[in-house]
Symmetry: C2
Subunit: 450 residues, 2 copies
């Protein structure tokens, strides 16, 4: 029952666009969900997509606009006049409209805002533009249903019907005092089951969670998940109700945060998608690669220190990539566990206990891996026993140190208010490469005395 894009559909649309058969286009698309139309437009070129966009009604296109890939949206907006853009925005919820305005260039922004028809709506949108993107203020809607604590249920239901008209999901009805300060909430269910003369003051629930406009979005996500909330009211410094955040906004925050951590772990420093331009990709990927390269310089210097071993024990050098790789892998594992623990708030116990546990763990893993390495070095790689002993001892030491670095660095970053996810990926692998090589050759030098 779910929609699937077909080649036939795309061809049919292209045909209809070429023959400017607007009527048939409307018939074909009006029955489709806006999210599906957005998917279809992503498959067309910019001119074709804009053509369809202009054929459809603005209540439909406004919703489509939200679902489009960034570059297609940007290109379509460029092809619309400020007045046309304003027509789209008049159809949208305040925070969606504000998000789109935020993407526009400075000159057009002002023009679009001045073209908005609904003055209240325009005020709300401008209001939302003030808040940073990653705060409660930046993700909240202005749309909500609120009633005065001094009303009764009947007035309240009447008011609610008017207010709810523009709101797709009511969730809670918020109760405020004469100064608009948030006092509590009422559920729709309660309204349905209470007699109409009852004063609101007698039935509303006084206890409720709220967040401040400047609470960080990930913190809002954490609170809503922890207390299993579907919506949370947002208040300003004076405790006045200024907006509402719903769980679907939070789904986006959670997904973005997870994507960002994942990209950081992979050494990608800013949000970039497969279909973005080569230039965007270079900007996102190059910084960590440069850092890794500079780390590589250090590893070259470190290896140079042990040049003396080359004549007598050249095969020591064959093991450097193995040791470096193991150090990198172990470090990434340890740091990933810590980064997730910090993100999910599941770390308990002291730093000391955590490090002790990590040492015990890496000792266990180290001994198992070292045994495989020792046996393998003898039977598969045919190196002398003494080299086998050196790489084995080095591997255990390197694994312990690498896991300690992997555990310690994200905790340290977090302490200083830096995103610990920065520590995973190239940063940990590079520093562990260097440490690993240094430890390995130092042990070799101690044993062989070159």
């Amino acid at each position: 029952m779910e929609f699937k894009i077909s080649k036939e559909l795309i061809q049919e649309l292209e045909q209809l666009i070429q023959t400017k058969n607007d009527q048939q286009l409307e018939v074909l698309l009006n029955d489709m969900h806006h999210a599906d139309i957005a998917e279809v437009l992503d498959e067309l070129d910019f001119e074709e997509a804009t053509y369809i966009f202009k054929v459809l009604d603005s209540d439909k296109t406004a919703e489509i606009l939200l679902e489009l890939e960034d570059d297609l949206r940007e290109n379509i907006l460029k092809r619309l006049s400020p007045k046309e853009i304003a027509e789209e925005l008049d159809e949208l919820e305040t925070n969606d409209a504000a998000d789109i305005i935020a993407e526009l260039s400075q000159e057009i922004k002002a023009e679009v805002i001045s073209e908005l028809q609904d003055v209240e709506h325009a005020k709300d949108i401008v209001d939302l533009l003030r808040y940073p993107e990653d705060t409660a203020g930046g993700i909240m809607h202005k749309e909500l249903v609120k009633v005065n604590e001094n009303w009764n249920v009947l007035t309240c239901v009447k008011e609610m019907r008017i207010q709810a008209e523009n709101i797709s999901r009511v969730h809670s009805i918020y109760v405020v005092d004469d100064e608009d300060r948030l006092k509590g909430r009422l559920s729709l269910k309660d309204l349905l089951t209470t007699s109409s003369r009852t004063p609101i003051n007698d039935v509303y629930i006084r206890k409720l969670n709220s967040v401040n406009v400047d609470t960080e979005d990930v913190e809002v996500a954490r609170i809503m998940q922890k207390y299993d909330l579907e919506a949370i009211p947002v208040v300003d410094e004076l405790g006045r109700l200024v907006g509402r955040i719903t769980i679907d906004d939070i789904v986006d925050v959670i997904k973005d945060e997870a994507d960002e951590d994942y990209q950081l772990a992979a050494g990608i420093s800013q949000d970039v998608e497969a279909d973005d331009s080569i230039f965007d990709h270079t900007k996102a990927r190059l910084p960590w690669l440069v850092l890794a390269l500079l780390g590589g310089f250090i590893s070259v210097r470190v290896l140079g220190l042990f040049e003396g071993a080359m004549l007598k024990h050249g095969n020591l050098f064959f093991f450097t990539p193995l040791i470096a790789a193991m150090a990198g892998n172990v470090g990434v594992q340890s740091s990933a566990i810590i980064v997730q623990g910090l993100a999910n708030n599941t770390l308990s116990g002291s730093l000391f206990n955590r490090l002790i546990k990590e040492v015990a763990l890496s000792l266990l893993n180290g001994v198992i891996l070292a045994t495989i390495l020792f046996v393998g070095s003898h039977y598969l790689l045919n190196v002398e026993i003494i080299i086998g002993i050196i790489v084995t001892v080095a591997l255990i030491s390197v694994i312990i140190i690498a896991s300690l670095i992997g555990t310690f660095i994200p905790l340290l970053l977090d302490k200083f208010g830096i995103d610990p996810a920065l520590a995973t990926g190239p940063f940990i692998t590079t520093s562990n490469d260097i440490c690993g090589i240094l430890i390995y050759f130092s042990i070799a030098k101690m044993i062989l005395g070159f």
Copy 2:
């Protein structure tokens, strides 16, 4: 306004437990949110936590049970009789109860089920246990509000009040026919604004999304996100309404999926948290480390092939960790982009175009990095020009090949129905290490002819 655990609170609780001051414990905890109590219990030892658990009412403890860390829940459940566990489950929604039963050992499971008081509830729970965890059936609730298409609004509101009593969030009212087949939905808002004599048949919305019991949970998440749904009905093979999934269930699916991808990228093969046992961690971390070690063996053999170069051009070997690390980092970046593109369904265009783009991108990055390397090798590392040229050429080649491997392998895995996230992390770094080293020394051999 948010709850924060304090040392004082923990000490006070421990004091009250020691003096068996149950009354004071109840006073202290009854005002707290169950999610906060769960956090507090995680800080106590198992005996203390179980003590508190037995002091509190089962309507509170049931909710707490859901919020506890896995090992604490397991330990508390071990200390409760089947009858006590059944009392907890009677308070929970069907799918939460089913999740907890699924964690119990086989013998206790049957006993607990036989002790459930509410027969309807017990039937629903047993019903849910049949479905695999990662399907719509496995995450759905049995709790929902449904009305018959032949009723009128008045009957419907009455019925709804009865049914809604046990449901925390109504969202939609589903409309079914006499055979219980899903026909459409009604919104609470519509009910509030329609006269009570109107037949349901005249007002309900016939178009609605639904999923089948065996739809995968990530697919349900994708559909709900795409169409921005807060709840979706679940139907069986005959189209009968059997359950409902709400957005908060989906938040968990999204988070679990993201966590899993993140861990796979870090070379951790099963869900493990910082506070799990050393044994669990070893099980999760060792497999990829062993694989990486075996990959390391190959790199040793590959380097051995070029032993001849050691006498004349020993410093070539100083660059192996640098080349291997760059290959690994580039590969992980490329594969991460693909894995995310696949997960978010944002990949478009042909494989060929994607590979061409990746080549162009890595050529750009490669030239920039190679320039830094060439200059650095001369001024910082003081190697001969010819070695500088070799590592520079090798770096560009390695970056291109590594990014192609990183792009291609996840796409290939995906084609064969294997989770592409498996490709990131140790798998890509290890294979790229080996390829990188092979390419580097082959180029050196071609130029120097050793």
